[in-house]
């Protein structure tokens, strides 16, 4: 079947349409959501197997040949990220049953989640720069709804800032695409890459690189542009926060990874030095926030920013090893962030607050939750053999090999800071004696715990089974390091 790569995009769309009609019945919505999310995961696995055996898969939409029409491209990187995003969405949907509340369920929560997945999967898959903008907008539009759904005061207040920031970044995105089109005369990403390598390192290309960095940096929350993230992400409830934290910023990172390996690799001394500097500043800013706050949500949110910095540093180093590390770490971070936010949501649900000073002593009544959280914390900090380790090791090792000593040391030190911040969280929530003794009645958290724990288990498996994942990741890295593979597959030369 030649339309295979479209399935992970089409299934969420079809599900969302069906869910709009089912808005009256919550239980029907739940069933359709679960079936659709599972089907998306399965289709992603099928596409991945196909990509593994036959190489990069492309679909020329509307039968228009490659540089003229819109092309969807499933290379290994895309489909790995699509699979991860679909698995996370499945877990979040399962988690939402008990936590999101009927008010939100009746107001199109499930269709919007499917639309978000559609936007995210589309952004990962598309091979057309303007189509990337369109999928970004689908994703953002869903996120506007998700951030405000439920309509509490803090959500309304934060959503205004969030929308404003994203409207501005979308405008810059369109302008950047316009510039790129006027310079290269194409919108197909593979074709643009060919044209840019014909032009060489003209100053205008560097300007474009920085323009795109601003756009994707605003979505991906890199150093001077992350200011909107902590406030906005703290507003919505845990499952939505998990979706945002694990998917939205990572789409920005994916876009930077794609454009900086496919388009803007000609003027590396300038562009990639900026990237590296910003990456380190991002890490420092994230670490300051993660250590300063005494709030479950804020500590985890600042950990997103630290991870963004580490990923950017991997992209900036731009060797085969560092890109492999980035891909490893990207997938790890998506899974573990979703897991941590879901676990954090359970903790907030039990304690009734997200303020660390008012929490404590949960380990007595909820031991499994506590130990799972500790395991997830270790994975986040990158303690071997858990999943964060491989990615960080590769990034740091390639950093040292490229004599980026300062950067590599900062990445290493950031792991300590991450470990300190999450262990601090663990101690405060689970270990410390609470100020007010906990009520004896244990809250039921079984159905909340299962999807969160599933993500943590997945992360552990991903860490332990690194050997099994390695060939897949290396296939993704090959297409990134050698743009010719990607270009040949798309333009079919």
């Amino acid at each position: 079947m030649i339309n295979l790569p479209i399935l992970p995009i089409l299934i969420p769309l079809a599900a969302a349409i069906v869910l709009i009609f089912l808005s009256k019945s919550v239980s029907a919505q739940r069933i359709v959501s679960v079936i659709a999310s599972t089907a998306t995961v399965i289709s992603a696995i099928i596409v991945m197997a196909k990509v593994k055996s036959d190489g990069i898969q492309t679909v020329d939409m509307g039968s228009w040949p490659a540089p003229f029409g819109i092309t969807l491209v499933s290379d290994m990187l895309s489909i790995l990220l699509v699979l991860t995003a679909s698995v996370i969405t499945l877990c979040v949907v399962l988690y939402s049953f008990r936590s999101i509340g009927s008010g939100r369920e009746n107001f199109y929560y499930y269709p919007i989640v499917q639309f978000l997945l559609l936007g995210v999967n589309g952004s990962f898959t598309t091979g057309d720069i303007f189509n990337l903008f369109v999928f970004f907008e689908i994703m953002l539009m869903s996120s506007y709804v998700l951030i405000v759904i439920g309509g509490t005061k803090i959500q309304l207040r934060e959503s205004i800032k969030y929308i404003l920031v994203n409207v501005i970044s979308s405008a810059i995105f369109v302008i950047a695409v316009g510039f790129l089109y006027s310079v290269t005369g194409s919108l197909n990403m593979a074709h643009i890459s060919v044209r840019i390598s014909e032009i060489g390192s003209e100053p205008i290309i560097t300007v474009l690189a920085v323009l795109f960095l601003i756009v994707f940096g605003l979505k991906g929350a890199i150093f001077p542009l992350y200011f909107w993230l902590p406030g906005s992400y703290a507003a919505p409830p845990a499952p939505i926060l998990a979706l945002f934290g694990s998917l939205l910023t990572k789409v920005g990172i994916y876009a930077i990874l794609r454009t900086y390996t496919l388009f803007f690799y000609h003027d590396q001394p300038f562009t990639h030095d900026i990237l590296s500097m910003l990456a380190l500043l991002t890490i420092v800013a994230g670490v300051i926030g993660a250590l300063a706050y005494r709030d479950v949500k804020q500590i985890l949110i600042y950990n997103i920013i630290i991870a963004v910095g580490i990923l950017l540093f991997g992209i900036a180093t731009m060797t085969e090893e560092s890109i492999a590390g980035t891909v490893f770490y990207l997938i790890h971070d998506m899974i573990i962030k979703a897991g941590l936010f879901l676990l954090g949501g359970i903790m907030i649900y039990i304690a009734g607050t997200s303020n660390l000073n008012k929490m404590g002593g949960l380990i007595r009544q909820y031991p499994s939750l506590g130990w799972t959280f500790l395991l997830a914390s270790f994975a986040l900090a990158g303690i071997p053999p858990l999943s964060g380790f491989t990615g960080k090791l590769l990034i740091v090792r390639s950093g040292f090999a490229e004599s980026e000593y300062v950067g590599s040391i900062i990445v290493l030190l950031s792991s300590l800071a991450v470990l300190y911040s999450v262990i601090n969280l663990f101690m405060a929530v689970f270990w410390k004696t609470p100020e007010t003794p906990l009520p004896d009645v244990k809250k039921r958290t079984g159905l909340l715990f299962v999807p969160a724990a599933a993500l943590v288990v997945l992360s552990v498996l991903y860490g332990v089974g690194t050997e099994a994942v390695y060939p897949y990741v290396m296939q993704a890295v090959d297409a990134l390091i050698q743009p010719e593979i990607y270009i040949d597959a798309v333009l079919k030369e």
């Binding site: 079947m1 030649i2 349409i17 939409m61």
Partner: protein
């Protein structure tokens, strides 16, 4: 505030149909000439807004018992369904099929699957604009 706007109401009833027919005309012009689902949809919702201005929301709801949110879903169904039809024939997604037909009354007409997609756009635009206007208007 109750004003006597009998002239407005009478004119609105007539103009409503004129706008609707013009919208349909624009919609079908869409493939070769300026027009299409988006403009047609906006015009149609403009006509409904005119009714909303002339009468109140309750009357219009009685006259047009449509759930506009479902209309969005219906439109998306048309759009996605047309595109997904290419899955059945194993041609790339969104592939466009068309032919010329000898229809009674119209003569030689070209029919496209793109028109079905445009119909989806038409429904989505009506659904979206009317939902927005109703949401803001209802709370007054």
């Amino acid at each position: 505030m109750k004003t006597n706007d009998v002239i407005f109401q009478t004119v609105a009833k007539v103009v409503f149909f004129m706008i609707i027919f013009f919208a349909v005309r624009i919609f079908f012009a869409g493939h070769y000439y300026p027009g299409g689902g988006f403009v047609g949809g906006l015009l149609t919702s403009g006509a409904i807004v005119l009714l909303l201005l002339a009468f109140d929301m309750k009357t219009v709801k009685k006259g047009l018992p449509i759930d506009f949110k479902c209309l969005i879903g219906l439109g998306l169904l048309f759009g996605a369904g047309t595109a997904a039809g290419s899955l059945l024939f194993n041609v790339p997604f969104f592939t466009h099929a068309y032919d010329y037909f000898q229809l009674p009354l119209f003569g030689k007409t070209s029919l496209h699957t793109a028109m079905l997609f445009d119909l989806g756009v038409y429904f989505v635009v009506i659904g979206v604009t009317m939902t927005i206007i109703q949401t803001i208007g209802e709370s007054e």
